[in-house]
């Protein structure tokens, strides 16, 4: 069979973001592919050097709309480490609550997109309808559905009173029962299993060699989760159940993300139970003393790496961000080399692309 090359992107119904792939196929088999990134490159690291630390919180939140909170969380923890301050415990818990809610909304978003790509349009509609409840909670707390501006250097921007907490608990309970139903469906639905079992398996050695992190790594049996291994406060006081699966195929990736949504819901309930009293922010100076810091956080897609260097002024001297999708994307050409053409959407959904994160 002759080889033909099909371009996918930059605009394509499969992709929410511009990404250019060249896929080589022969008949129904995919031979391989290559990627061209950089369509969403906005030069965030260079822009960050031109703004003050406080202005950068607004910029960093817009690296990615889906995992915006964890980006600002990692950045704020980095600046606070350079300032040598520790934020009040109540602020730490509220940051973690928003992180877990963001993980829930991101995984439900992913579940809907996977269902849509497989052809289960009803599950897409149900999942996104239930995801609105998570966005409602975030909107009640912070005022924004997708972009919350929750973090500031020194703590969080708002407090929760008893009425809020009761309201959040009520919505969480409804969301929990809906998510349980959805996760049970996706884990037992024969069509989903048929489309994903055995597709594009990845071995643990490949995971290590390519530096893949997050749910994709955990779905190949690699037991890494920064919430347990290098916890930012208050995860050192919360017990995080890490979900792994030895399968390595698209089905394992589906299972891991679905179960992680349940774990995050339990964590949200625990955080609200243990919420300590106190202030929610500290005053901080504008100028940050000289120093360098590395912070790692567990974003919904994996290990988020921040390196920040300060030279004593009120603007960062260097901000380096390595997002988890960049690591997972390096494995995509290899994954594409062993599948059928009809499995391309399933593989793309398993990667859980966030090109805005990868390109910055």
């Amino acid at each position: 069979m002759d080889k033909i090359s099909i371009p996918i992107g930059p605009q394509h119904p499969l992709l929410k973001e511009p990404l250019s792939m060249m896929v080589d196929i022969a008949g129904e088999k995919v031979l391989g592919g290559s990627l061209r990134l950089g369509y969403v490159h906005r030069g965030i690291e260079r822009l960050a050097q031109q703004r003050t630390y406080v202005q950068n919180v607004h910029l960093i939140e817009r690296i990615c709309g889906i995992c915006s909170h964890v980006h600002t969380t990692a950045y704020c923890y980095a600046v606070e480490a350079l300032l040598g301050i520790e934020i009040p415990p109540r602020a730490q818990y509220i940051r973690a609550l928003m992180c877990e809610l963001e993980r829930i909304h991101s995984h439900l978003l992913w579940l809907g997109i996977l269902a849509k790509h497989i052809g289960l349009e009803t599950i897409f509609m149900h999942t996104w309808h239930d995801r609105e409840m998570a966005l409602d909670i975030m909107e009640e707390i912070s005022g924004g559905r997708v972009s919350h501006a929750a973090n500031q250097i020194g703590g969080v921007r708002f407090d929760l009173d008893e009425e809020h907490i009761d309201m959040i608990r009520g919505i969480l309970k409804k969301l929990h029962s809906q998510v349980d139903g959805l996760v049970d469906i996706i884990e037992t639905e024969p069509a989903a299993m048929a489309r994903t079992k055995g597709v594009a398996p990845i071995s643990p050695d490949m995971i290590k060699a390519y530096g893949v992190v997050g749910p994709v790594a955990r779905a190949s049996g690699v037991d890494i989760d920064l919430r347990r291994d290098a916890p930012l406060p208050p995860y050192d006081q919360l017990e995080v159940k890490v979900v792994t699966h030895p399968g390595g195929d698209a089905w394992a990736r589906t299972f891991v993300r679905a179960e992680e949504t349940r774990v995050s819901l339990n964590l949200c309930e625990k955080i609200l139970e243990d919420l300590p009293e106190g202030d929610v922010s500290l005053r901080t100076p504008r100028r940050v003393p000289e120093g360098e810091v590395i912070i790692r956080a567990e974003a919904p897609r994996g290990e988020l790496f921040y390196y920040l260097r300060s030279d004593g002024s009120d603007k960062p001297a260097r901000l380096k961000v390595r997002t988890p999708t960049l690591a997972t994307l390096s494995l995509l050409p290899v994954q594409l080399a062993e599948i059928n053409v009809a499995d391309i959407p399933v593989v793309l959904a398993g990667v859980d692309l966030c090109i805005a994160c990868a390109d910055r």
């Binding site: 490159h41 260079r46 390519y210 290098a230 790496f305 380096k320």
Partner: protein, 150 residues
């Protein structure tokens, strides 16, 4: 994973490669070892052997304002704790051996470092740009331009 100790790693490296290891303690959060560019590949081989699980998190590059003639390159690893290798290169002729034969995942990071800072990675076929647009003609964007005054 056993508890990470930077001095243990230094001893491993010094035993297996006879390179002297210098610990750089400037970074809050990750232990860092300063090495020379020609020591990079052997040290990475030792690192991959010493840990049951280890992955490359990032390749961070920067040019300090107070030392504009050199650039610093960090290879950031994670194996239960974070640690980094630090190298200093001259900005005019920055060359490093490529590690994609041992760590294929370093490909994207090397390409980004090459286009943003002008580093040349030897031992690989080509280093195409990763993120910058096709019509970019202004050289490495992170390197301070010499023509600017002040």
């Amino acid at each position: 994973m056993k508890k990470f100790n930077i001095l243990d790693l230094c001893i491993e490296i010094e035993t297996k490669t006879s390179f002297h290891c210098e610990v750089y303690d400037g970074i809050h959060g990750d232990h860092t070892i300063l090495i020379k560019p020609n020591q990079l590949k052997p040290v990475i081989d030792v690192i991959l052997e010493s840990f049951e699980y280890c992955h490359l998190s990032a390749i961070t590059v920067q040019q300090r304002n107070d030392q504009p003639d050199e650039i610093e390159v960090f290879y950031n690893f994670w194996s239960g704790s974070g640690f980094s290798l630090m190298l200093k290169l001259p900005v005019e002729s920055a060359k490093l051996p490529s590690i994609i034969s041992t760590i294929p995942g370093a490909d994207f990071y090397e390409r980004e470092a090459a286009e943003m800072f002008g580093i040349e990675f030897t031992g690989r076929n080509e280093t195409p740009p990763l993120l910058l647009p096709d019509d970019w003609d202004q050289g490495p964007p992170f390197i301070a331009k010499k023509e600017k005054n002040g």
